[in-house]
């Protein structure tokens, strides 16, 4: 009994101490002689006396029934609160009289530890519950075990509704198969990589969520479950859309500025020419010229509107004619030449063919394409350089090349140059619509535009279908799918 860390007291019917162990004496700082034979309430500290311990011991002695693990507190001024767990067992004393044995343990530290564990558990649970991200845990097969508030809030499904269900079933088709596959290969999953899977919601909609899966493993390294953390991308997407919208509006503003300028020029010419006609009635030649400028200005304004419409509503071109490509190139160069910087040379590189190079298309649209490409070339050479204009037949195509000796297009921009509104010029004169309109027109002709660029210059390569009546039947053969 001396080595037992509990306090043990043996009491007789009158609750006098018959025996005590070493631990009790040590804790109560009393000697055996001053304790034995004394009544319990005389030797027990006053701080315990609010507990009806006497009463309980008497009951055990009378009823013979053990009282298990009761708790009492020790409160004394200046001493921190202690908590004891005690049991009272009936005992047959020597001589036949009845008694009881009281076993007491100080459980204060144990209880405090338990409280701490509980507090920690609550804290962890509250982290998961308060997180803005969706935190879901599943078993190794992907059946949902826990589902935090953010998951419930985002989807409208409570944890009770989804517990036990497959996580893959919460993801929209067809990505749910991908999720299923992910769980099949869960041992190989890379938790540094996130994937986007749309999640089904109660209202029938689905929300974009970026997910990251991590394995939970036991001490042997076996997978015991999966932690699935998802970030709801709805707000992020809304913000991105807002930014894009703003960018579009800014770009649109620039384009509108360019259009205003482009259209008011021919309008201004037509208007002024019409006003001047009044004073030119007696000079038929001048009158004729004024009328020509009026009509020309209106046609120009109309062509601008048409190219805008064509950009807005691209569709196949129906009425095509045979277009002499060399004429297109010459007209375009003439119209664009006002923009060339001093010291700009032009190199023609034409096929030395007897028959003219004809494409199937719409003359003024193809001119617009070449004008845009030549203007781009001139803009790339503000201090002069060499413009190369090349043209030749290549099977069923007519190939046009417009090259400059400018600084080239940065690699990062090459993929964007055909995007509407993209421009590398810092001033607002060019709307950035030129290349995208050109691209759109060539595509409508059934052709293609490619670009080669280096720090020594840029060349645009346009391929157009050869004219149907070009004589050799090449275009027809292509159309009918017959190799020529």
């Amino acid at each position: 009994m001396a080595t037992i860390p509990s306090s043990i007291l043996i009491l007789d019917e009158r609750l006098s101490i018959v025996s005590v162990n070493h631990n009790f004496l040590e804790k109560s700082r009393a000697s055996l002689s001053s304790t034995l034979g004394r009544r319990l309430h005389d030797i027990f500290p006053a701080a315990f006396q609010d507990t009806a311990l006497d009463q309980k011991i008497r009951e055990v002695i009378v009823t013979g029934k053990t009282l298990h693990r009761q708790r009492m507190t020790y409160r004394a001024p200046g001493v921190s609160l202690r908590i004891y767990s005690y049991s009272i067992c009936p005992l047959q004393l020597q001589g036949g009289s009845r008694g009881a044995i009281l076993v007491m343990d100080d459980v204060t530290d144990l209880l405090q530890l338990g409280d701490e564990v509980r507090r920690m558990q609550l804290h962890l649970a509250s982290i998961v519950e308060s997180a803005g991200d969706l935190i879901i845990s599943t078993d190794p097969n992907g059946a949902v075990m826990t589902w935090n508030s953010a998951a419930a809030k985002s989807t409208g499904y409570s944890d009770v509704e989804v517990r036990g269900a497959k996580f893959a079933d919460r993801i929209d088709e067809p990505q749910n198969n991908e999720v299923e596959a992910c769980f099949h290969r869960i041992a190989e999953i890379d938790d540094r990589r996130s994937v986007e899977w749309p999640m089904k919601c109660r209202d029938g909609e689905s929300i974009p969520v970026s997910w990251r899966l991590s394995r939970m493993t036991d001490h042997l390294g076996d997978v015991t479950g999966v932690v699935v953390v998802g970030r709801n991308l709805v707000e992020q997407r809304a913000m991105e859309a807002q930014i894009r919208q703003g960018e579009k509006l800014a770009a649109l503003g620039m384009v509108i500025g360019g259009i205003a300028h482009e259209i008011r020029n021919p309008l201004g010419v037509s208007s002024a020419a019409a006003q001047l006609m009044k004073d030119r009635m007696r000079s038929p030649a001048l009158l004729e010229e004024c009328i020509g400028r009026v009509i020309g200005g209106i046609d120009r304004a109309s062509l601008i509107v048409e190219s805008l419409l064509r950009f807005a509503r691209p569709g196949p071109i129906k009425e095509t004619t045979t277009v002499n490509v060399v004429d297109v190139l010459k007209n375009a160069l003439m119209l664009a030449s006002g923009e060339a910087a001093a010291g700009t040379e032009v190199d023609w590189n034409l096929q030395r063919a007897v028959e003219p190079l004809n494409a199937e298309g719409v003359q003024n649209l193809l001119e617009l394409v070449v004008i845009n490409l030549i203007l781009n070339a001139f803009q790339a050479m503000p201090n002069g350089g060499r413009l190369t204009i090349g043209c030749w037949g290549d099977g069923g195509s007519v190939v046009i090349e417009i090259g400059d000796t400018g600084p080239g297009i940065p690699q990062a921009h090459v993929s964007k140059i055909f995007d509407p509104f993209f421009t590398m010029r810092s001033d607002s004169r060019r709307s950035g619509l030129g290349l995208s309109v050109s691209h759109s027109i060539v595509r409508q002709h059934g052709g293609s535009v490619d670009v080669r660029t280096s720090p020594k210059g840029t060349t645009f390569v346009v391929r157009l279908p050869v004219a149907r009546d070009s004589g050799d039947g090449t275009a027809d053969a292509i159309e009918e799918g017959v190799p020529s």
Binding site: H261, S271, A272, R293
Partner: protein, 135 residues
């Protein structure tokens, strides 16, 4: 506008516009009132023309291929402070702050919005009207 109302016109007018048709109408209108007209299509050519030959008056388009119209006007002023300069632009609305401020600050002597009245061109040259001649 009658002939007797027209004060003496400046001898030569410089027209700076990259649009050849626009140059043609301005030239026709100005030649009609007895001006000699020089037309150029870029800011660079305008500067070299002014360096070679003084012009009492110039019409400058707001958007030029190689320079902003207002920038060119600053350059021309530096070369020839007494020159009267009329800005023309199709890129304009009533509340265009930049142009309104330029007019107020007397950086430009007049402004013509395309499409314009031929009489306004004539008035700008002869110094009649306040020069703020948009329709």
């Amino acid at each position: 506008m009658t002939a007797s109302a027209i004060p003496p016109v400046p001898e030569t007018v410089l027209v700076v516009d990259d649009d050849q048709d626009m140059c043609w109408v301005l030239e026709l209108a100005l030649v009609g009132i007895g001006c000699a007209v020089t037309t150029v299509g870029s800011a660079r050519r305008a500067i070299s023309s002014v360096t070679e030959h003084p012009f009492p008056i110039a019409f400058v388009d707001a958007r030029l291929p190689d320079m902003d119209g207002l920038r060119l006007i600053e350059e021309l002023r530096r070369l020839q402070p007494a020159m009267r300069i009329i800005l023309i632009s199709g890129y304009y609305i009533e509340d265009d702050m930049r142009i309104s401020e330029a007019v107020r600050a007397c950086e430009i002597d007049g402004f013509l919005a395309k499409p314009f009245q031929v009489s306004a061109v004539v008035a700008a040259v002869t110094g009649m009207g306040n020069g703020h001649c948009h329709p």
